[in-house]
């Protein structure tokens, strides 16, 4: 029953216009970054061709010109600001909608509460995760058509933005593709969990639009915490805001596994508890 | 004197044709029933007559004035469409009083009489959000008739009502007809529809496929008898 419910919920999550719209919107945003960097690369190419002594090939390549590798373009700024919306739009609204329409009564009676809520959580997670990662992968592959996959060099760390204390900097300068894949995995998981915030919010709010937009404000609130945390110029802080540490490049402070895993665990525990355990205890009218 | 004319009204929503060249004429003092399965276009037709949606082709005129061109909504109309919707934080009377304040046509006494006529208590302070489905339906009907409109449009008014409620609705509709209102009614109970309506339009897939004049049938039967 659970497997069937998961299959059904996933079908509903992926075969819906909102999913396609969110992915398309994400891909369009990444194109802003791509176009910006194609222009920059053309200039760099001209300079490289003119410079016989040190063309600095390693400073300009796929791994620091794709949207995840640079924190300068509008595309990058927009994507890593709007991603909470992009992940919630595909299916984060579904629980709200099903409560209002009364569909939940039918589903729960047929499948049982546990199967329904677990399947819903899985579908929301997967749809959010894919909505986060597909545009990034799209941009990476498209960028690969324009920028050479040059092995980055630590000599040019100011151009790449990956410093000795950046997360997985060793991977970046030795196996950059693995670096990108690991970051895509981190983004995949976080994208799914952030979408689940809207599912958890749907346990308390009546309107779909409110449930979908709340994750953005939640992320903004976490980002705002930085104002209270980063108070000393001497301390070597780690990045706490997902709006920054989900970028595969260092935007302000370096990311850290401890923070990433802690926030991942906290998000999972809270959203899972609220939407699967706590909500299940309530009566369905 | 009220008349409604639909002239080849077609409505397309995205790729679906929900109404197809519907042509009807309706007059005051009669009850017109809309019969059809779910999705046949009854509610869409009602929305078109109320003015909530614009026809893609054709026109709807009320007393010779075309909706959407000469006026946006009929001058005197009361309606209940699908689920009644009021403000949850107010009582039934407070909700109706607020609506009546817009045109200023219904007096306090009239509103209370209307609420009593549908079987509710106008002095009841219970908030609308605590109403049962049947009570909500009754309040919706009261809102539709309280200003004694020339046109009354009721979509499934007997939904969620018990036997006494259904009889109440029937009495109300007969009174409205006697008052001279033009009543458009949809109901899944064909017996009730045939009992109340003077004419029935049977709809299928957005088209009017049959027009039954029950009044004439009744007169003929009466004549034969």
């Amino acid at each position: 029953m659970l497997r069937q419910m998961i299959r059904m919920e996933c079908r509903k999550a992926f075969r819906n216009k909102m999913f396609y719209t969110a992915v398309a919107a994400g891909c369009i945003i990444t194109l802003f970054a791509l176009v910006y960097y194609i222009g920059i690369y053309q200039n760099e190419l001209t300079m490289m061709q003119a410079d016989d002594v040190n063309p600095m090939h390693e400073a300009s390549g796929l791994f620091n010109f794709w949207i995840g590798g640079e924190p300068f373009s509008f595309g990058s700024a927009a994507y890593f600001f709007m991603f909470p919306l992009l992940t919630a739009i595909p299916y984060g609204w579904s629980y709200c909608g099903e409560k209002r329409s009364g569909y939940i009564r039918t589903a729960v009676v047929q499948a049982g509460k546990k199967a329904y809520f677990l399947a819903k959580y899985t579908a929301v997670f997967l749809s959010g995760a894919l909505a986060m990662v597909i545009p990034l992968a799209f941009d990476f592959l498209l960028s690969a058509l324009f920028f050479p996959a040059v092995m980055p060099s630590p000599v040019y760390c100011t151009s790449t933005g990956i410093f000795y204390d950046s997360l997985m900097s060793m991977f970046y300068y030795t196996v950059p593709l693995l670096y990108v894949l690991i970051y895509l995995l981190i983004d995949f998981i976080f994208g799914g969990l952030i979408a689940c915030i809207s599912y958890a919010a749907a346990c308390f709010v009546r309107y779909r639009v409110v449930a979908v937009i709340l994750p953005l404000f939640f992320m903004l609130a976490v980002h705002y915490l930085r104002q209270f945390v980063y108070i000393s110029a001497e301390v070597r802080y780690k990045e706490i805001s997902p709006m920054f540490f989900l970028r595969p490049v260092q935007a302000a402070y370096p990311a850290s596994w401890a923070v990433i895993l802690a926030e991942m665990a906290a998000l999972f525990l809270v959203t899972f508890f609220l939407s699967v355990i706590w909500e299940r205890k309530h009566e369905i009218y | 004197m009220v008349r409604i004319e639909l002239d080849k009204v077609t409505k397309r929503i995205r790729k679906n044709t929900v109404l197809h060249e519907v042509t009807l004429k309706m007059h005051e003092g009669r009850i017109y029933g809309l019969q059809g399965v779910n999705g046949s276009g009854k509610t869409m037709l009602m929305r078109t007559v109320i003015g909530l949606i614009r026809p893609t082709e054709g026109s709807v005129s009320v007393n010779g004035r075309i909706l959407g061109r000469d006026m946006e909504f009929p001058e005197s109309i009361g309606f209940l469409l699908e689920n009644p919707a009021f403000l949850g934080q107010y009582s039934g009377y407070e909700n109706l009083n607020m609506l009546a304040g817009i045109k200023g046509r219904a007096l306090t006494g009239q509103i209370k009489d209307c609420i009593r006529a549908v079987g509710l208590d106008p002095e009841d302070k219970k908030k609308y959000r605590k109403y049962s489905l049947g009570m909500k339906q009754r309040l919706g009907i009261a809102a539709a008739i309280m200003e004694e409109p020339d046109i009354v449009v009721l979509d499934e008014p007997t939904n969620a009502l018990d036997e006494s409620g259904v009889r109440l609705v029937q009495d109300i509709l007969r009174r409205e007809k006697a008052r001279g209102a033009l009543v458009i009614l949809s109901c899944h109970d064909i017996g009730i529809l045939r009992e109340l309506s003077d004419e029935i339009f049977r709809m299928e897939a957005g088209r009017v496929v049959e027009h039954i004049c029950l009044n004439d049938e009744r007169q003929e039967e009466g004549g034969d008898a």
Partner: protein, 279 residues
């Protein structure tokens, strides 16, 4: 007369009874005040600023925005979180009411009023008043906290504080001592225009995409200092009153008014043909 009744209904239901509209700016105002207070104390303690801050500095902290962004190595784009929170919260809070109303008792009111234009005009007025109420609430809570903490409740500003907060060079800014009235009004007007745009866009696409567009406009305004992007006029830091070569207040007023009117007219036409279907 009918319009006034309509508008009073919207004002009551959509603004005065809208807990989110009243509580959200209060929460934001209080949070930003705490942040501002801690920062001010820190800067005073380390000697980065000479004297204690005043309400004008708090206002500037709320509405300042950020300095012009120039992409370059070591200068990653970091959006102005305080400003974004202030300006993104209000379209969110105002988003749902018109469409909730349209699907609910609003239908009854709309048909009784017999005028789609009246409904739309009333909603536009509600939108404007709601925005003004939001910003008033935001500033009032700040003022109340200033009184509570016994701080200077004047519109004086301290340039040393502003330079530290916005990491500005001395020569970039004019020397100012107090906030002028025109500057006080502009952010709220621009905010009203953006909210109006959101409401109109939501007649064409789903409301969540209307919000998406409004948020993107605000972010784009932060990213690029351009007179074309309306959000720039809502950043007190980027106004030519403060920043040498900044955007002009007059252009801001014109842009806000033009955007508001354009959105109003577009919405009026769109709503005239809008199919009101329950979802």
């Amino acid at each position: 007369m009918r319009f006034i009744r309509y508008f009073l209904f919207d004002l009551k239901q959509g603004a005065l009874h809208n807990k989110a509209l009243l509580l959200t700016p209060a929460a934001i105002g209080a949070l930003v005040f705490l942040d501002f207070l801690f920062k001010a104390h820190r800067y005073l303690a380390i000697g980065a600023i000479e004297e204690s801050v005043s309400y004008g500095d708090y206002w500037f902290y709320l509405y300042g925005g950020m300095k012009e962004y120039t992409p370059g190595p070591g200068n990653a784009f970091s959006f102005p979180v305080v400003w974004m929170l202030v300006f993104a919260a209000v379209p969110f809070v105002l988003l749902n009411y018109p469409f909730r109303d349209m699907g609910g008792i609003g239908q009854q009111i709309l048909v009784r009023s017999r005028s789609r234009s009246t409904w739309w005009l009333s909603k536009c007025c509600w939108n404007f008043v709601g925005t003004v109420l939001y910003h008033l609430m935001l500033q009032t809570v700040g003022a109340a906290l200033f009184l509570l903490f016994g701080m200077d409740l004047t519109y004086r500003i301290h340039m040393d504080f502003i330079r530290v907060v916005y990491d500005a060079l001395h020569e970039e800014l004019w020397e100012r001592s107090a906030l002028p009235l025109a500057v006080l009004v502009l952010p709220a007007l621009v905010s009203a225009a953006v909210n109006m745009l959101q409401m109109t866009l939501s007649l064409f696409v789903r409301p969540m995409f209307g919000f998406f567009a409004a948020a993107l406009l605000l972010l784009a305004s932060a990213y690029l200092m351009s007179p074309v992007l309306a959000g720039n006029y809502a950043m007190a830091y980027r106004c030519d009153w403060m920043l040498k070569g900044g955007v002009t207040g007059r252009a801001g007023l014109t842009a806000a008014a033009a955007l508001f009117v354009a959105a109003f007219l577009l919405g009026l036409v769109r709503f005239h043909f809008y199919d009101i279907l329950e979802e």
